[in-house]
Structures are given as C-alpha cells and as structure tokens.
C-alpha cells in the first residue's frame, strides 16, 4: 500500500517538475522584456519616449539619443535582404526538392579511348555521391557557420573585392554590402524551412495534378507551391527575424555612421550595431547605458512583432469570402497546351540554386584558402598570447561554456519536452501558450540575450564564464526543447502502452522506455546546441567578456570565474583589434571544421535512426 502511494507521489511531483521546466520559457521571455524595459526607463524618461523613437540624432557625448535613422536602416536592410535572399532561397528549395538529380552522370560519345576510360572512372565515383544530400548538408553547414565569419567574408570579398570600385566614394560599406551579406546568411534558414514545407505537401496533390495532364513544372508551381504557402511564409518571417537581429556580420560591413539609408553606398548603423558598437565603452549606470538598453528594447519589440506574426499565418486554406455565382457563357471550349511560365520558373529555380551553390562555395573556399596556410601547432595549442598567438585559452573557455550550458540546459529542456509531449493534453490552450513562448524565445536576437545576461547574470556572477553559460542556456533552450519533443513524438505509442500494460508507472515508462528510444533525437539536439554555442558571439561579449588578445592566457582561462573569450569571440577580437588578420582566418577555418564535424555527427545519427525504422 505504501509502495503504491509513494510511486504516486513521485509521479505527481515529477509532473510538477516538468511543468516548471516547460514554464521556464515563459519566465525567460517575460524576464527579458521586464529587465530590458526597466533598464531603458531612465532613457525614455530623460529623453522622452517619442523623442527617443523619432529623434534622428545619436550623440552620446551630448546625451542626444534618437533611433529613427537606425530603425529605418534596420528595416530597409532587412526588407531588401529578405526580398533578395527570400526569392533565391525559396526557389533553391523548390529546385532541391523537385529537380535536383540524386546522381550526376557524365555522358561521353567520343572515340578517344583514354577519355572514355577517364569518363568511366569519373562516373564510378560520381555514382557513389548523392548530390542532393551533399547540397542539403552544405546548406546546413552554412546555417551553422558563425556570423563573424560571414562578416569577415563580407568585408574582404564583397566590400574590398568588389563594392569599393562601384562606390563613388570608394568605401564600399553600407546598405548594399549589408543586405548582400544578410541575404547570404538567411538563405540557409529560408531554404531548409521551405524545403520542409514543400516536402510536407501530400504527394497526392502532385499526383492529382499530373494525372490531369499537368507538366511537372505546372504541378509544382500551381498546386504544390500554393499548398505549401503557409510554411513558406513562416520561413520568410523567420528569415526576417534573423536578419533584424543579426549583429556581428552587419557591424563589420554596415559602415557604422548614423545615416538614413538613402542610397546603396550610404554607411548605416542598424539597431543591433548601435548596441554592439557602444556597449564596450559605456559607463555602467549612465544615461548612455540606458539609451543602449532602450535601443535593445526597440529591437526586441520589433522582433516580437515579427515572431508573433508567424502565428497569424493561416495554416490551411479555409475558402474565400462570399458566395460564388456562375455566369456561364456558351463560348467555344478549346483546350491548348500551356505552361510557359512554370517552365520559366523551373529554370529560374536552377539559376537560384546555382547562385546559392556558388555563394556557399565561395564562402567555404575563402575560409580554406586563407585559413589553412596560417594554421600551426603553436597557434592551435600554444598556450599564452603574451607573445605570438594561440587559441588554447579560447578552446578552454569554449569547452567550459559548452559543458556548463549543457549541464543546466539539457535537464530543463528535456523536462519541458517531456511535459509537452507526455503530460499535457495535445492542443490545449496551455500547451499553445508555452509553444508560442518557446518560439518567441527562439526568435530573440542574440544581442538582446547579451543585454539580458549583462543585466542579470553578469551582475550576479560578474563578467565570467558562468554568466556566459547561464545566458547561453536561454539561447539554446528552444532548440533542445523542440528537437527533444520531435524525438519523443516519434516514439511509437505502442511502446508506452506495452510498458503500462506491464504495470509500470508513468515516470518509469518515460525514463526506461520513452527517453531511451528518443536518445538519438536528444543527441542530435545536444550536438546542434553545441554548434549554436560555438557560433554565438553577441550574447557572450557582455556576459563572458571579451578578452584583449594579448592578455588571454591558459592560466587565466583555466579558472571559470575569470573572463574568457570563446573561439568566435576571439576571432572577432583578432579582427576588431586590427592586428592579426592571418590568425582570424585560421580561427575561421578551425570554426568551419568544428561546424562541419558537428553536422557530420548529426547526419550520421539521423541516418542511423532512419536505417532502424
């Protein structure tokens, strides 16, 4: 008797524990909003809310703060980037899903014997490669590359390599450079989400259209594409969110002066850049600091509006308004072969995919060519930076932050996912609310996380690795919850029933049956989180700190209560201090390799899971 009741107590208390985990996202979102709002109130009070929002001048030495020009810069650059990146990304996805060949095959009709042999040899190699998978993996890889690298690519290749010559003032920075870099950065996000949306369209729609005499292109663009509309719109909105919140890459190519975006080569300062440029030299407690927080608040509100508008996209077609009355006329019915536009769109898709492939290839090649020659053992694992450069302290800090973040975030995220999938009634209001908050948290720009961490965790712990790790917990929580939930959902109901059938309690079923079968999914979530932590910079600079290159040493980094730069932040320091470009390239290469390995791990985990099913 007592045994039964004790399991019951355990079950109930576990349930409440899981609920708390799930509610954490709600607390986090509210916490971020409240903390940043509270910190910006002095600025709103001193400057005046409308003066702050609609003022066009920003000079911190005279305490003049107005964000209108920066707000406009953010909006214009985002809109241009989403138009450019959105069109290219969406059509690339269409190409990948419907036309990308799995295998390449070279045809050779000539008579040259050695050439024939060569072609045969090439084909035997090509037949082993799955083109679609490779393209897919490269896009995932690019989604995971730290934004600092994109910024670097933007400066060296885009600005100095081309735009300088087109700019009448020979600067090259500004609106155009920013929107190109941003569109390259959001293409991976948009492409992979659009791809998911297209693949989720039931095959019957496609078959139905073909069976009526449609060409493939007609079926794709007239039926499948409209059917995936809501998913594509969500992809674009998420792309917008990412573009609005991007900091590091934008800072490197925007130019930085407060101007209205009136021309392609006008240097601008989007909201995120404003925060990041001045936070470093701000006097704690000053009006200036509060004004930067207020900038963050404006940014946050902007992003919240964008993220929440995803929920307004209708999930399915519900019919048009009004009644349809037919006015038939007995015209002659002549069926003709039509469909030029879909065919054109198909070729446009191919062109887009080619552009993306070239851009992606260029980024990777750029890093490899410049990075590899600068690698050396001493640079990687040397030790201190007093003389010469070494990544060793950064490796150490990165490792600490990954470990601490995961130790805290994994139990919380898994707990939340367990509540959402195992305890909550599917579709209930509560679940919907929690989901909305998780999505909102996922959409918060990393610089806003940085500000929040600065206001809360850096006050508690001081600027150190712990403050950084706690901030990163919030950053990766949505990823962990979502991937774990997906994994839990894939566990067949029968397994749970079998366990209950044997008299096991719910909590036992979850820990002994459900979680082990969901292990690959949780592992994937972990690896993805590691990737996110490694690529993060803006959220860490104000929390874990940004060490001056010359003063970072292993002896300092070994103690997590000290400040420390992760690899990405360190790379940014190399760049920002302007002394060690070779080292920055080499770090970029190291980051690329790490991202690549992480993606490879995810790929193999997922393949293993697919094989088992």
């Amino acid at each position: 008797m007592t045994k039964v009741s004790s399991t019951k107590v355990k079950d109930v208390s576990a349930k409440y524990l899981f609920i708390v985990c799930a509610c954490l996202s709600i607390f986090a979102v509210f916490g971020i909003i409240i903390y940043i709002l509270a910190a910006s109130i002095p600025a709103f009070r001193e400057v005046g809310f409308f003066q702050f929002l609609f003022g066009t001048k920003w000079q911190f030495n005279t305490d003049t703060y107005g964000v209108l020009a920066m707000l406009c810069a953010t909006l214009v650059v985002t809109i241009l980037a989403v138009i450019l990146g959105g069109i290219i990304g969406v059509f690339t996805a269409v190409f990948m899903v419907f036309w990308c060949p799995d295998k390449l095959h070279i045809r050779y009709r000539g008579k040259n014997k050695s050439m024939q042999n060569f072609v045969a040899w090439m084909n035997s190699w090509l037949s082993k490669i799955n083109l679609r998978t490779i393209f897919d993996q490269i896009i995932k890889l690019l989604a995971g590359i730290p934004s600092v690298i994109y910024g670097y690519f933007g400066i060296i290749v885009l600005v100095q390599g081309g735009l300088v010559n087109m700019d009448p003032y020979h600067r090259g920075f500004g609106v155009l450079a920013t929107c190109i870099v941003l569109s390259i950065m959001i293409i991976p996000t948009i492409t992979s989400l659009t791809k998911n949306a297209l693949e989720a369209v039931p095959a019957q729609y496609f078959e139905g259209a073909l069976a009526m005499g449609n060409t493939k292109a007609q079926a794709v663009f007239r039926v499948v594409f409209p059917a995936a509309r809501s998913g594509i719109i969500s992809a674009l909105i998420l792309g917008i969110g990412r573009a609005v919140g991007e900091t590091m890459a934008v800072q490197m190519v925007a130019g930085g002066s407060v101007n209205f975006p009136t021309g392609f080569f006008i240097p601008i300062r989007p909201l995120t850049v404003n925060i990041n440029m001045e936070m470093g030299e701000v006097v704690p407690g000053s009006l200036h600091e509060s004004a930067l927080m207020a900038t963050g608040f404006v940014l946050l509100v902007l992003v919240l509006i964008i993220t929440l508008s995803v929920n307004l996209v209708p999930k399915e077609f519900k019919g048009k308004r009004g009644e349809k009355v037919l006015h038939g006329t007995s015209g002659e019915v002549v069926y003709r072969k039509k469909g030029l536009i879909p065919e054109i769109l198909k070729y446009f898709g191919m062109v887009c995919a080619a552009i993306v492939a070239i851009a992606l290839f260029a980024v990777i090649l750029f890093i490899c060519i410049n990075g590899i020659p600068n690698l050396s053992w001493g640079f990687l694992f040397g030790g201190d930076n007093y003389e010469g450069h070494s990544l060793a302290p950064a490796f150490l800090t990165t490792f600490y932050i990954i470990v601490f973040t995961l130790i805290i975030a994994l139990p919380l995220g898994i707990g939340a996912a367990i509540f959402l999938n195992e305890y909550a009634k599917p579709g209930s209001k509560f679940v919907k609310i929690i989901r909305t908050f998780i999505d909102t948290l996922a959409g918060v720009p990393s610089i806003v996380f940085g500000l929040f961490g600065y206001l809360l965790f850096a006050q508690i712990f001081g600027k150190n690795v712990f403050a950084g790790a706690f901030t990163m917990v919030l950053v990766i929580l949505p990823t962990i919850i979502r991937s774990t939930e997906e994994a839990l959902r894939a566990v067949p109901m029968e397994l749970r029933e079998a366990s209950y059938g044997l008299g096991a309690s719910k909590i036992r079923t979850i820990f002994k049956v459900v979680l082990p079968s969901a292990f690959p999914g949780i592992a994937t979530a972990t690896v993805l989180s590691v990737g996110r932590i490694i690529s993060e910079s803006a959220a860490l600079i104000y929390t874990a700190g940004m060490m001056a290159v010359a003063s970072s040493s292993v002896s300092s980094a070994i103690d997590p209560t000290n400040m420390g730069s992760t690899l990405t932040v360190f790379m940014y320091s190399f760049f920002a201090e302007g002394l060690a470009y070779e080292e920055a390239y080499a770090t970029a290469f190291v980051l690329l390799i790490i991202t690549f390995v992480l993606n490879l791990i995810v790929y193999f985990i997922q393949r293993q899971v697919k094989k088992k099913r």
């Binding site: 069976a211 399915e316 009644e323 007995s330 019915v333």
Partner: protein, 285 residues
C-alpha cells in the same frame, strides 16, 4: 502542331494528322476514339527493377463500358491501371515492355506528349485528393492549365462538370468554400468532377470507393453508370460485389498475370478458370 515532339511518319502519327485535319485548333485531342476498343493492351510486361510485376498482359477495353479489374492484393491490377496514363513513370526503376494503344496511338512511344495523354485519360485515386483550394478552383484547375481563362467559359465548365458528377445541387452554394471541408464521399465525387472538367475520353479509377462509407460508395457507383454514356471507365476494385454490380467486363488478375477476362455476368456465373472461381467464391484473397 503534333503531339510528337519530332515529326516522324508512323502509323500513330498518321492517326494524329488525321485528327489534325478535322480539328486544327486542338493539339491535345489527337486520339481517335472511333474504334470499338478504347484501350488495347498487347503483350505488356512491367518490371520494378528486377521484379516483374506484370506478365504478358493482353486485353481490350471496349468503348463506353465499365471494365473492372479484380484480384487479390499485389496481383498487379493497380500497377496496370497506372500504366494506362503512364503515372508509373513517377516510380523509379519502372520499365514497361509491350504496347498499349489508346485511341489508335501507342502511348509508350517516346514521342507521346504526357499532357495530351493524361488530358484524355483522366484518373481518380484511391484516396480523395482535392487540392487545398476552393471547390470552384479545384474544378477550374484543369481547364486553366490548358489555357482557358475566360470567366464565362470556366463558369460553364464548372457547372457542367459538377452536374455531370451529380453534385451541382449539393455544391452550387459553396463553390467558394475549401474543398477540404467536404466529406470524404463528396471529395471523391469532386475529384471525379475535376477529372471530367478537361473532357477526358477515358476515366481510370483506382479503388475509388475503398476509403468511403457504403452510402458514398453507392453514390459513386450510380455515378459511374451514368458516366459511361460519355466516357470509358476502367476500375480497379477490391470489392467483388461492386465489380458484379456495375461493370460490363471483368478481368481477374493473379500474381501479375491476367487469368481471365470476359463479360461480367459470365465471369461471375461461369468462370472458365478454377482460380477465378476460387477467388470469387471467397476461398482465398
């Protein structure tokens, strides 16, 4: 204008150009259905990779009749119906040998335009698959892709097709509503109306009632009886009573072979082959 991408003189393209002379505007209606049989299947073998799914099939499907194909699961009847409008082109590794002549043209000739073929040979699937659009747009979809954009003409086609599918009275007030909001049976009849909207000569039905309730099934069977005045129907069914009720010809398939084909009455009352008898009396399958 020719359905073939390249002009070459063959028996088939002769038939095509004959059609061209009478109806110059219409490049899609090149099939000549004046013969007695709408479909002639001759020595057809079909392979999925190494596996042979159809073995030397020979059959004729008469015009304006309902031909039912029955047989246990995996016997190849669904595979065969998909070869008739070349939907199995979508299946990777699928290879067809032999000849299928529809309206005087071998549809497996490389030069046949699939759009023209499928406009003339419509298909209704096992699971209703209306597009996520309004009822009106679903039916207008086919005509629109074939270049009909005049509102008046589209309106007329929609009304005619819905009347043909005997659902005009049910749906005339909700043409603007989403087709996904209809019941399963309504969705399936809408799919039939949608297929009719492009004016096919042949309608292929792949177990059209297997996902439906008995009342909806009855309605679709009634509809088929009406439709055979205008189109030739080929139907795959798991339901032997259905075959017996509505079809004129019945073909029995087993393990990729056609065991026998004949008038439905004869097949059900006096099958010539013992396997057929065992199947229709319910001893296996």
């Amino acid at each position: 204008m020719n359905i073939f991408k390249k002009k070459e003189k063959t028996a088939a393209s002769d038939a095509a150009s004959a059609g061209e002379n009478t109806q110059q505007k219409n490049s899609l209606d090149i099939f000549d259905f004046s013969g007695e049989n709408a479909i002639i299947v001759k020595d057809v073998d079909l392979y999925y990779g190494e596996f042979q799914a159809l073995k030397k099939i020979n059959m004729q499907m008469p015009k304006y009749k309902i031909t039912a194909m029955i047989g246990p699961s995996g016997c190849g009847k669904s595979t065969l119906i998909k070869t008739l409008n070349r939907m199995n082109d979508l299946v990777e590794g699928c290879r067809v040998e032999g000849e299928i002549t529809i309206g005087g043209i071998n549809i497996y000739d490389k030069r046949v335009d699939l759009s023209a073929l499928r406009k003339n040979v419509g298909m209704v699937f096992q699971k209703p698959n209306p597009f996520p659009m309004s009822v009106y747009d679903n039916i207008a979809y086919g005509p629109r892709t074939f270049g009909i954009n005049k509102k008046g003409v589209l309106d007329e086609i929609v009304e005619r097709s819905l009347k043909q599918a005997a659902m005009w009275d049910e749906l005339k007030d909700r043409l603007n509503k989403s087709a996904l909001g209809l019941s399963g049976g309504q969705q399936q009849r809408l799919c039939i109306a949608r297929a009719l909207a492009v004016g096919p000569q042949i309608l292929l039905m792949d177990e059209p009632t297997s996902a439906l309730d008995p009342i909806s099934t009855g309605k679709i069977e009634e509809l088929c009886e009406e439709l055979k005045n205008d189109v030739t129907i080929v139907m795959v069914t798991h339901n032997m009573q259905q075959a017996a009720r509505i079809s004129d010809k019945t073909a029995f398939f087993l393990l990729g072979e056609m065991i026998e084909m004949g008038d439905t009455e004869q097949v059900f009352s006096a099958p010539t082959h013992p396997e057929t008898e065992r199947y229709i009396t319910g001893r296996f399958g």
